[in-house]
Symmetry: C2
Subunit: 485 residues, 2 copies
């Protein structure tokens, strides 16, 4: 780690925090903090007060208690790959980095569970159990570096979540440090209807606003006996969309059902893993079916038939694991690949009912024309999760704002179609105001009331996930502030 | 409806409530209230103040507002089939019966969802869409009469929830009347990772303590192309248990994987739908596989092989839908069938890690010996959800208490094995104290704090789901009571 030498400081809080985690496990010089100003949502950046690297739950609890007792804002951070700004220190927070709590604590194959620390990297889990025939299902594109703790905070999804569900469907238990520094166990261990309220559900996807996860029990799955992957090229986006509907209507539940449009294909073919997709097609589908070997071929044949009926230009089945892996590597460069064809890009994340796909894609096309910005589309088509990628150049005055406006307009289109403003990237800083597209004031207040139960002093990750309070809440807070004086 | 004539009363609250719902939609004479003293958990009974039958959301909200403004306790009730006492009026509640809000409001096949009122009977939904090739998955044994509103309150399960998940996995949105009478929409419409906190998850399974559900958007599924059902008889419970593990280890995910032991079989063969199970076997497995036709036969063959390897006495595949339906009808009489072989019975509902099945069954056998009471076992073996049925005779002094103690001991055995105290029946009145087997005081307090956010005056379904408060909470409440004076 790059760090300025010495622990010379007059800041009493820094000294105390260093005493908790050890003098080598804290950063507080400005030069060392720069890479913590932002996360994967780079449009905003704020300087943290310090970054600490606790090594165990007790240290996390002590740091939190110190912060709570001394009115210091704080937040937790994993690998910093989040796309909505959830780990940005808006209020000059003490950042509690969990990257040194990265052990795989136990694996119980018989009962299909594993226990990991929050800084454990997503893909490592699958890698460490694959030789025994098991894997961990949630597979965000950043899985080679993102942490399972961060996945819990954001309720991360991934291409294969169509069949297997997102992170919340794979979390059986959590150890959590509350915002007042208490260590709690929550969870249901996979019990279908566990007793009490579903705290695990509330914590998962709460974007780091309700507690800091220090231990995670996850469900692991047996590798499917077989998988087959189909790649289909279409000359018309509508045909591709219709093929998606037809596959689902046929009763097939693919493990993954991904779509990319022409601009997205231009991007991935210009990036690290080109596989020779023709650049003149309008859409491609990447479809994977897995399960027991018996029956896979029939499903693939049905998928091929559907594609042919929908005027596919060409369609092929991966001949071996290498070809399949290449197709996926190509797909997973999707967002980053935009960097190859545009100086800057903004990825959006909306959800729509599958049946509205053609109408929403048309509206996104109109937004592109209105804004003068190119918009690529990559989506988890099977569950209607769109990722419009808005290409812009921040060096041209006004383009960043235009891109943000276009992104918001895309989300409005999703909300208008009966969908929502995020499918897997979270709200963070980015989409706070867009929460109003889908929630009334009262519905937002019900949620911030829950936040107050967990996070009563509001020192943990403040300013995220919800819009600026309306008038009533402001009055309430002013009254509180006065009362505290 | 049996009711005493006339609305003569001097009770001003009854008069006001009658004015809201209409004079024909309220019961308050003692004779009319007797069947509302209890629900499916008949060991406790308490007299309600009245029962009202609102016809729409606005009436529910008005009744709730009236109760809240006048410090009247109240609770919601569906069909009253709950097994843990969640609808018993412990505090002389006004019962808000939802049985007259029983319409199917809309069906959207393309986007696979339906909207129902809370009093709509579970099985009616499948019946009304099956001709179009769709069904509603959660299938509690009481589905021919229980309501979907009650299913949401209890997060109901069922035999086919092994593959398809329990109620919470099928609820996309709710309209809820808060305990202060406000109407709210919550939900995520099936979005994989919806924005904000998972209020839908908190409400579902909250056992009627956080709000009254007045409209429900549910996911509907396409009928599987094919299903096959296997019935296997074992001379040794351990062989049957091992077959369950082997099937799951083989990577097969059956739609249902049920087990019954000798006493349970004696029961179902003495009840309404005997199918000729031999009475000298120690255990039977009922295993159903469904999905795309291709591959079903291979899975069935693998299941037959597993059973043979585990010394099955005999095993057969249902020859047609009639035979399958008979087997299921027989299985679904399971709990009630105990009435045919015992004057009284108490059904318990614990969950254990699948690998601990033999050890927990042995412990339940010991509890049976210690208590001198016969215990039958019916379980959703695939997900480790046990239903020990404790047979007793309430006419023999002390036997009811002995049965309750034995039930509690069974739950302790499940908790000790790393499991939990309920798999699908809820906590209600029955298992309040057993919550301490799985939650610390602090973990319970985190939940009651959430209850306070939704249910601040604690007039809705008080005294359910959580144990009597410990000393700290008592002090807190005493202070509150004093403050209010």
């Amino acid at each position: 780690m790059l760090r300025k030498k010495g622990l010379k400081t007059n800041d009493k809080h820094i000294k105390k925090l260093a005493a908790i985690v050890g003098p080598k496990e804290i950063l507080f010089h400005k030069e060392d903090l720069i890479s913590y100003e932002s996360d994967g949502f780079t449009i905003h950046s704020h300087m943290p007060k310090a970054v600490v690297f606790p090594k165990n739950t007790e240290e996390v609890a002590e740091v939190v208690k110190y912060c709570a007792d001394n009115d210091l804002s704080f937040l937790a951070r994993g690998a910093g790959t989040g796309l909505s700004g959830g780990a940005i220190p808006l209020n000059g927070e003490v950042i509690i980095s969990l990257v040194k709590m990265k052990r795989l604590l136990s694996v119980d194959l018989e009962n299909r569970r594993a226990v990991v620390e929050p800084g454990y990297v997503n893909l490592k889990l699958t890698n460490s159990i694959s030789d025994k025939g098991y894997y961990y299902a949630p597979d965000p594109s950043s899985q080679y570096c993102c942490t399972i703790g961060g996945n819990v905070a954001e309720n991360a999804g991934g291409a294969h979540c169509l069949k297997y569900g997102v992170t919340t469907n794979h979390i059986l238990g959590l150890e959590v440090v509350s915002p007042t520094g208490e260590i709690m166990e929550i969870g249901h261990d996979g019990i279908p209807d566990a007793p009490g309220y579903d705290l695990l559900g509330i914590l998962t996807g709460s974007e780091g606003t309700l507690g800091i996860v220090t231990k995670i029990t996850v469900r692991i799955l047996k590798n499917p006996e077989e998988k087959q992957t189909v790649l289909a090229y279409f000359d018309d986006v509508a045909d591709g969309s219709q093929a998606v509907s037809d596959i689902v209507s046929a009763g097939i539940v693919p493990a993954a059902l991904e779509m990319m449009d022409k601009i997205a294909i231009e991007g991935v073919e210009s990036a690290a893993f080109p596989v020779g997709h023709p650049k003149d097609i309008e859409a491609l589908l990447l479809i994977e079916v897995d399960g027991i070997s018996a029956g896979i071929d029939e499903q693939i044949n049905e998928i091929l038939d559907v594609c042919k009926k929908r005027n596919v230009r060409s369609v092929k089945v991966a001949q071996d694991d290498d070809e399949r892996a290449n197709w996926w590597a190509n797909r997973k460069t999707g967002f980053g690949a935009m960097g190859a064809i545009s100086p800057d890009y903004l990825v959006q994340d909306g959800v729509i009912p599958r049946s509205t796909l053609p109408e929403v894609l048309k509206r996104i096309g109109d937004i592109s024309k209105e804004s003068g910005l190119r918009i690529a589309n990559i989506f988890h088509a099977g569950d209607g999760n769109l990722h419009p990628l808005i290409l812009f150049d921040s060096r041209i005055p006004g383009q960043t704002d235009k891109a943000l406006e276009a992104g918001s307009a895309c989300l409005q289109a999703c909300a208008d179609a009966g969908g929502s403003i995020t499918g897997e990237h979270g709200v963070g800083i980015e989409k706070r105001e867009e929460m109003r597209f889908v929630f009334s004031d009262k519905e937002i207040e019900a949620q911030t009331d829950i936040r107050e139960v967990f996070n009563p002093h509001y020192l943990l990750n403040a300013g995220k996930l919800f819009p600026s309070p309306g008038r009533c809440a402001e009055v309430k807070n002013e009254l509180k502030a006065e009362a505290a004086e």
